[in-house]
């Protein structure tokens, strides 16, 4: 059994996208049990930072380090990424969509039905995903984080397209994850009431540091 993940540290991360310097010399530390809330204007690099941690982008310089966790796995393999896109297939049923991601990520942690129940979609388990509304799709995508246990949750505007009730339910689930010693990095422009949180503000200041 791998030791629990305690800290995720970024040191002097610099990243270019499309010839533009998006992050420069960015350092941060995310603690387990505390949500790291990344804020900043549009284009400040919030999503870029999350994609960087998820291993989808490579920094020009700097490094990411994980304290604790399974040494056999990369940092990305410790992460769940919940971005703008829902990765759902319209032709598959709600249950099939979720079951695929559970099986694909291996080590099933929960039943599909239980996870759907958690996000309030259990009744729709046999319905094709095509029939879901935007908010329901978002919740189904979020249920993916519940079927396989990964310690780091990367949430990109997690509450967009959700109504108040669903938002509360999502925050409750995130809170439970934090209580269990999970790590959360959330990019948002809203003041989301996480139980414990650190702030990381990206903005012209970080960009200016490149000069």
């Amino acid at each position: 059994m791998a030791p629990p993940v305690t800290r995720l540290v970024g040191e002097k991360l610099t990243l270019d996208r499309g010839g533009r310097r998006v992050l420069s010399d960015l350092s941060f530390a995310a603690q387990s049990g505390v949500a790291l809330v990344v804020t900043g204007a549009n284009g400040a690099g919030k999503s870029t930072l999350l994609r960087l941690i998820a291993g989808l982008l490579r920094p020009v310089s700097g490094r990411l380090a994980l304290e604790g966790g399974d040494a056999e796995l990369s940092i990305a393999q410790h992460c769940h990424y919940f971005g703008h896109q829902d990765a759902l297939k319209n032709q598959l049923s709600v249950g099939e969509n979720l079951a695929f991601w559970r099986d694909f990520f291996g080590l099933a942690d929960a039943e599909v039905f239980a996870a759907l129940d958690r996000v309030g979609l259990a009744r729709l388990i046999d319905l094709p995903a095509a029939y879901l509304s935007a908010g329901q799709r978002r919740r189904l995508a979020f249920a993916r984080l519940l079927v396989t246990r990964r310690p780091i949750w990367l949430l990109d505007e997690p509450t967009s397209a959700l109504d108040a009730a669903s938002e509360a339910r999502l925050l409750e689930i995130v809170g439970e994850h934090l209580d269990a010693g999970g790590l959360v990095v959330a990019a948002t422009h809203l003041a989301l009431p996480f139980p414990r949180m650190d702030a990381l503000r990206l903005g012209p200041a970080t960009i200016g540091a490149a000069a």
């Binding site: 009744r123 029939y131 109504d163």
Partner: protein, 243 residues
Amino acid sequence: MRLIDYANPTRFLGLVAKVLPWLGAVTAATFAVGLWLVFFRAPADYQQGETVKIMYIHVPFAWLSMFCYMTMAGSALGTLVWRHPLADVSAKCAAPIGAAFTFLALATGSLWGKPMWGTWWVWDARLTSVLVLFIMYLGLIALQETIEDPARAAKASAVLTLVGAINIPIIKFSVDWWNTLHQPSSVFRMGGSTIDASMLIPLLIMAVAFSLLFVVVHLMAMRNEILRRRIRTMRMIEAAGAE
């Protein structure tokens, strides 16, 4: 009662439930008579022997392959011009049946041709035209299956059906031209204008029987399609209700 009264799908379903058993019985009876005539009354051809009996199913199949397309073209007009709510159900349901009849026309033509030509297939003008028709059916089915929303699928396939209907005579003419260009004398003519009454009557009865079969199957398919769409709507309502 006018046709428009059956635009209401519920009323249409009621009518289908009433008519279908009778129609099924009439179809079965016509087939019984037709097959009896074909096997026990109709003479064998002096050249082709018993093989000629394939004609009694091949010709009805070929006729229905065209008839189905005309049904679809009529339904397409119904969809585009009169916006009749059942027209696109009719068009959608006729396509697979038409494709099946066309395939059977090709298959029986091929089986019939084997002893005549010594090969399963020749690029005879008629067979080739039917093959092109078959491909058009498959294309229409593919279009209907690809577009998820029934209303949009109906409009798109109605346009394609009508374009196809206009093109069929041109295709037929071109294929004939192409064929005579390459093969001055056709190898084998099917049917022919002179046909004895002893063969013509069983053939006509078989054609009527298969046409009735088409109507029965088409009505059943339309019923299923209406029910399928209702299920789709109910599921969408269910999804919306679970918010």
